[in-house]
């Protein structure tokens, strides 16, 4: 069954804010276990698409399916609990909480829906050991009792990913995880993301750093002005004239009749 191979199907999704069309009839699929990159110039609608997937916005037209179920119109927290983890473009750890507490928040996700919020302890031994395991994978286990806001940005970035992983997601959405990182931090992050992906978690990645994307992604979807203009393996996309035009602007060569 082909259907079972997909973790997410985005079906002709459009979102407009007043007269502005931020996302224009975009369709693509994310396969199970895939690492798909979503690229495009500023204002192409990438982050809006993330917000549509995670229920921050509702699509004006179109549907989004996750694991065979329609999720468009559901609440953010419901979608998160179904198994979609996400990080933001600007790092947003819970700054006034410790590194460990940050990861403990999503670990008890099923307890937030009813009055067992009053009886369940977030600090059960099993939760703590699971949280420490996640922190260890993110190379953060030594920092577990520090306030999250005191960490350097590279660590905060990994903490955000570890926190999203505590949801036990089937799909992880990463919004420019390499932004603002130095070479070493960026390498460490790439390793971390590849490790997550090799554990079977599908990843959708927004990234501006083309070197980073070409290195890590198996397949790329390109957005420009809200529309999908290309989709394919990195080498295909990199040589696609429409993509080059979107990124570098239209060439005005002498004798170019189409210009």
């Amino acid at each position: 069954m082909i259907e079972l191979q997909k973790i997410m199907k985005i079906d002709r999704v459009t979102k407009h804010f007043g007269g502005l069309i931020a996302v224009n009839s975009v369709s693509f699929e994310i396969l199970k276990g895939e690492l798909l990159a979503l690229i495009g110039p500023n204002g192409a609608g990438k982050t809006t698409l993330f917000n549509l997937i995670t229920g921050v916005f509702k699509p004006s037209i179109g549907k989004i399916f996750f694991d065979g179920k329609e999720i468009s119109g559901k609440r953010t927290s419901q979608i998160a609990r179904m198994g979609i983890g996400r990080t933001f473009q600007i790092v947003r750890p819970f700054g006034k909480m410790t590194v460990l507490e940050n990861v403990l928040v999503p670990l008890g996700k099923s307890f937030y829906t009813n009055l067992s919020v009053f009886s369940h302890s977030p600090r059960e031994n099993s939760s703590i050991s699971k949280a420490m395991e996640l922190l260890k994978d993110a190379y953060l286990d030594d920092e577990f009792d520090k306030m999250a806001s005191y960490l350097p940005i590279g660590m905060q970035r990994r903490l955000e990913i570890a926190r999203a992983l505590a949801l036990e997601p089937k799909l992880l959405l990463l919004d420019e995880p390499a932004a603002g990182l130095n070479e070493k931090e960026s390498m460490q992050l790439k390793e971390y993301i590849e490790k997550i992906n090799s554990n079977g978690i599908s990843i959708l990645l927004i990234e501006h750093d083309m070197k980073f994307v070409m290195n890590i992604a198996k397949r790329i979807v390109v957005l420009d002005h809200g529309s999908k203009i290309a989709e394919g393996v990195p080498s295909e996309v990199a040589s696609n004239p429409q993509v080059i035009e979107a990124y570098l602007g239209r060439k005005h060569k002498k004798g170019d009749k189409n210009a």
């Binding site: 819970f94 700054g95 909480m97 928040v105 937030y112 829906t113 919020v117 977030p122 949801l167």
Partner: protein, 288 residues
């Protein structure tokens, strides 16, 4: 000797301040709304206890039922009023809150009339008299109930899932939702708990002063903010400490014969000084 008696008074007065301010601080911490109508809930709690007590004759049933009903009303206030104006500028929820408070006060006046109702109860606590001081049964009642509530609250906020959820929402509620926290339920529960505490405070004050009346929340509506400002907006630990500190300042300065200001002015004087020199309060976070 007067010192010891005054210290008891500080504890009693401080308990009331803390019960009111903790709920307010919890709500501010999450929504960044100055919840003036909290004082309306406080008055509601007193009236509900009085009415339920008349029907059932049992103070404890009255106190608990009043707290639960007031808690629900607080949660409804979030769900059906604040939720719709949270996206507006911060002045909008504030005006809404003031409007709610005035409406509530007038509603009490319409229903109960502009009278002071006596609210006397008999409780099986002995009069405690030690060498230098005494504690009346009502004072003891306030201390015991506040003690139980604060210990319970500490447990709930530090040892349970709702505590983590609240902390996450207070840090960043959009992010909290993105990692699976049911923010609607969590915020509603914060309103429930805060409002229930305000109702308990209203009831205790009604009993202590032996009077319940529609405008009993007027002074409370702004004095609670003094406590929250002193403690630092959104810091529960700060509110608890500030509540007792304010009580201490009031009791000891008023007891000092040479002091010229009326009691309610002290809190505001302190608040103004804090806002000038220490605007984040004792334990406050920096505003974003």
């Amino acid at each position: 000797m007067e010192f010891w008696q005054n210290s008891i008074n500080v504890l009693v007065l401080g308990s009331i301040y803390v019960l009111i301010a903790v709920g307010l601080s919890m709500i501010y911490g999450i929504l960044r709304v100055l919840h003036i109508a909290h004082a309306g809930i406080y008055t509601l709690g007193a009236f509900l206890s009085l009415s339920i007590m008349e029907v059932t004759g049992n103070f404890w049933i009255a106190l608990i039922l009043s707290a639960i009903i007031s808690g629900f009303l607080g949660a409804l206030m979030y769900r059906y009023v604040y939720k719709f104006v949270l996206k507006e500028e911060r002045i909008v929820p504030l005006i809404v809150s003031v409007g709610l408070f005035i409406t509530m006060q007038d509603l009490y006046r319409i229903i109960y009339g502009p009278y002071k109702y006596p609210f006397s109860i008999s409780i099986p606590i002995p009069y405690i008299r030690a060498g230098n001081f005494y504690i009346s049964p009502l004072q003891m009642l306030i201390l015991i109930i506040t003690g139980i509530i604060l210990i319970g609250l500490y447990f709930v906020l530090n040892k349970t899932r709702i505590g983590v959820g609240l902390k996450a929402c207070a840090n960043d509620s959009q992010m909290a939702a993105a990692v699976g926290v049911n923010t609607k339920l969590t915020i509603a529960l914060a309103f429930f708990m805060g409002s229930a505490l305000a109702a308990v405070a209203g009831t205790l004050v009604g009993v202590y002063d032996n009077s319940v009346y529609p405008t009993m929340g007027s002074t409370v509506s702004y004095k609670a903010f003094v406590v929250v400002v002193l403690g630092g907006f959104g810091s529960l630990k700060g509110s608890v400490i500030a509540g007792f500190l304010l009580a201490a300042a009031e009791v000891f300065l008023v007891a000092w014969k040479g002091f010229f200001l009326p009691r309610d002015a002290i809190g505001f004087l302190v608040m103004i000084l804090f806002l000038i020199f220490l605007p984040n309060g004792l334990f406050g976070r920096k505003e974003r």
